[in-house]
Amino acid sequence: MSALPFHRRHATRLAMRYLVALILVVIFVFPVYWLFIISFKTPDEIFAFPPVWYPNSIQFANYAVLFKDGDAATVGNSLILASVSTFFAMILGTIAAYSLVRFKTGGENLAVWIISQRMMPPVAIVFPLFLLYVWMGWVDTYFGLILLYTAFSLPYVIWMMRGYIEDIPLELEESALVDGCTRWEVLWKVVLPMARSGLFATAVFTFIFAWNDFLFALVLTRTEVTTYTVQVTHYFGGQSNFWAKIAAMSVLGTIPVFFTVAIMQRYLVRGISMGAVKG
C-alpha cells in the first residue's frame, strides 16, 4: 500500500467510500423497490423461484382489484382523517403556543406538562378510550378519529410551534400592535409569516403521524372509516397472504406522503434546523 503514489491511494480510498455507500443504498432502497415491483407483478411472478427481479411487463391488475372492490377508498379515509386532524391541530396548537410564549399562560411548567402527555404510550390508553368511544357512539366515525388524532398531535404541535414563536423578535409584534393590529391580526399577519417554515415542518410531521397510525385505527374503526394501514392487515390471511394486494395498497399509502414531503422539502429542511437551535 505504502508503495503506491499519493494520488493512487487517494483514488482507491474514494472508490472504497463509494462502494460502501452504494452497498448501503442498495440495502435501504431494495425493500422499497421490491414493494413497488411486487405491486406490478402477476401472482406467478411473485412466487417464482429464482425471484423475478424485474417483471417482463408492467401490469396494473393488482391496483384495478383494489379500486374495483372499493379497498382503495381506505386511502381516501386516511387522507381525510390525517389532513383534517392536522388542520385542526395546527390551528389550535399554534394559538396555544402563542399564548404560552407571549402571555406566559400557565406559568413556566404548563408547556412541560403538555409535552409530557406525548410520552404516554398510546397502547396504555387505547382500551379505556375504546370503552369511552363505544359509550359516546364515536366508534367508526370520522369525528371520533379526527378528535383523537387532533388531541394526540396537539402536544407535539404546541411544543414545536412554541420554539418557533419564541424566535420571533418581540418588536415586530409590538410594531404591528401600534400600527393598528389586534392580537389576532398580529398572529395572522406577523407570527404566521415569520414562523412559516416551522409551521410547514410541524404540519408535515403531524400529518405523517396521523397517516401512519395503526393502533387507534384498528381498535376504533370497523368498516366505515377503515384506514389504509388497517386495510393492509386484512390481506394477511390464516392460510395465505395476498402479497399483490399488500404491495399495491402499501404503494397507494406511500404516494400521498411521498408527494407531501417532496413539495414541502424546502420548508422542511429550514424548519427542522430552525427548531434545532432553539425550542
Binding site: 418588536e171 400592535l177 400600527d179 393590529c181
Partner: protein
C-alpha cells in the same frame, strides 16, 4: 392644547419600581426628548405611553383623551423601534403601507401617502426591495417612513439611532430634525445620548431612577442645571467638579486658590461645596471675552486635539479638570500657563443633597 399628558404615572415590575410618579405635559407640535442613563425608566415610560406596558397607576392622555387602559391600536400613535422592526417577508412598500392597510385606508390613498413618505426620506427607489437587501441606514429610514406615513397624534421614537454607526447617526439625526420641522408633529424621542437630546429637542426631560430630574429647553438645562446629576449628564466633555469651600465672595479651592463668583456675594462662608466648571467656559488667559472671569496659573498635563478645538487636562485645586481650548492655543503637555475661567457660568453644588445652590 397638549397632545400628551401624563399624570402621576407609576410602573412596577414585581418588586422593581421602574417609573416612580411622573407628570409630563407635551404641547402640540413639540419635540420632546426623554433622556437619561440606562435603567432610568425612559424606555418604560415611552412603552407605557404606547400602551405596550400597562401603567401600574396614574393616567395617560393622548389628544385630550384618557387612554391609560386603551390598546396600542386605539391610541392613534406611531412608533419607531430601535431594531427597525421591519417585516422581513414584506418589501419596503408593503412595510411602509402596513399600518395604513391595518387601518383600512383606501388603497389609492395608501399609494399616495407611501410614495410621498418614501420621497421625503429618499427611499423612493427602494420600494420593491426587501429589508435584507438594505443597509442599516436605509432600514431605519423605512422604519421612520412606516411611522410618518400614518396620520397619528403622537410619534414615538425608541432609541432609533443607537444601532447605526457614528457617521450615519449624525445624518439620520439631521433627517429626523428636518422631518419634525416639515411635519410639525408632536414627537417623543427616547435616547441615552445627550448629544442627540441636545440637538433634537425642543424640550429635554432628563430622567433618573424613575423620576424626572429636570425638564426644559436644552440650553436651559445646559446652563442652569438644578442638580449635580443634570450638570454632569449634559455636555461633552463633561462638567468639571472640584471640591471647594465657600467664601464671602465666592469659593476657595483646597490649594488656596480663591475664585470670586459674580452675583454670589451673599454666600455663607466656610461651607463645603462642589464647584462645577464647564470645559467650554475655560479659555487661555487673555482670550476670555466675558467679564467676571478668574485667572489661574496651571500646568497642562495632557492634550487631546479634536480638530478645531483641543481638550487639555490639568490639575486644579486637588482635582483634574478638562478645558476645551482653541486648537492652536496649547502646543504641548507640560506647559506652564494661565487660564481664564468664566465664573459667571460656574455652578455651586451642595454636596449633601447634590442640589445646585
Amino acid at each position: 392644547m397638549s397632545d400628551l399628558k401624563i399624570t402621576n404615572l407609576h410602573k412596577h415590575y414585581g418588586a422593581f419600581h421602574a417609573v416612580k410618579g411622573i407628570d409630563l405635559d407635551v404641547p402640540s407640535g413639540e419635540f420632546t426628548v426623554l433622556v437619561g442613563p440606562s435603567g432610568c425608566g425612559k424606555s418604560t415610560l415611552l412603552r407605557t405611553i404606547a400602551g405596550l406596558e400597562e401603567a401600574s397607576s396614574g393616567t395617560v392622555e393622548i389628544g385630550g383623551e384618557d387612554v391609560t387602559w386603551a390598546r396600542p391600536r386605539d391610541r392613534n400613535i406611531a412608533m419607531v423601534f430601535q431594531n427597525y422592526a421591519l417585516y422581513p417577508y414584506l418589501n419596503v412598500k408593503d412595510n411602509i403601507a402596513f399600518g395604513l392597510r391595518s387601518r383600512k385606508v383606501p388603497e389609492a390613498e395608501v399609494e399616495k401617502r407611501v410614495s410621498r413618505a418614501a420621497e421625503m426620506l429618499g427611499i423612493g427607489h427602494l420600494l420593491k426591495r426587501f429589508p435584507r437587501e438594505l443597509s442599516g441606514g436605509q432600514r431605519q429610514r423605512v422604519a421612520i417612513g412606516r411611522a410618518i406615513v400614518r396620520d397619528a397624534i403622537l410619534y414615538l421614537f425608541d432609541e432609533p439611532l443607537s444601532n447605526l454607526d457614528a457617521q450615519l447617526r449624525d445624518d439620520m439625526r439631521v433627517e429626523i430634525k428636518r422631518l419634525h420641522q416639515e411635519l410639525g408633529r408632536t414627537m417623543v424621542y427616547v435616547t441615552h445620548d445627550q448629544i442627540e437630546a441636545m440637538t433634537l429637542a425642543d424640550r429635554i426631560v432628563l430622567l433618573r431612577d424613575g423620576l424626572i430630574e429636570q425638564q426644559g429647553a436644552p440650553l436651559d438645562l445646559f446652563e442652569r442645571p438644578k442638580t449635580r446629576f443634570v450638570a454632569g449628564f449634559l455636555g461633552s466633555p463633561k462638567m468639571n467638579f472640584i471640591p471647594a469651600t465657600t467664601t464671602e465672595t465666592g469659593v476657595a479651592l483646597s490649594d488656596g486658590t480663591r475664585l470670586d463668583v459674580p452675583g454670589r456675594s451673599g454666600l455663607k462662608a466656610g461651607q463645603a461645596v462642589v464647584l462645577g466648571l464647564r470645559p467650554q467656559y475655560i479659555a487661555m488667559a487673555g482670550q476670555s471675552l466675558a467679564p467676571g472671569h478668574a485667572r489661574v496659573p496651571v500646568t497642562i498635563e495632557l492634550v487631546q486635539p479634536t480638530g478645531s478645538r483641543v481638550q487639555a487636562t490639568m490639575p486644579l485645586g486637588g482635582a483634574t479638570i478638562i478645558a476645551e481650548l482653541a486648537a492652536h492655543d496649547v502646543s504641548r503637555p507640560g506647559e506652564r500657563t494661565e487660564i481664564d475661567i468664566d465664573m459667571t457660568r460656574a455652578v455651586i453644588i451642595d454636596p449633601q443633597n447634590e442640589q445646585v445652590i
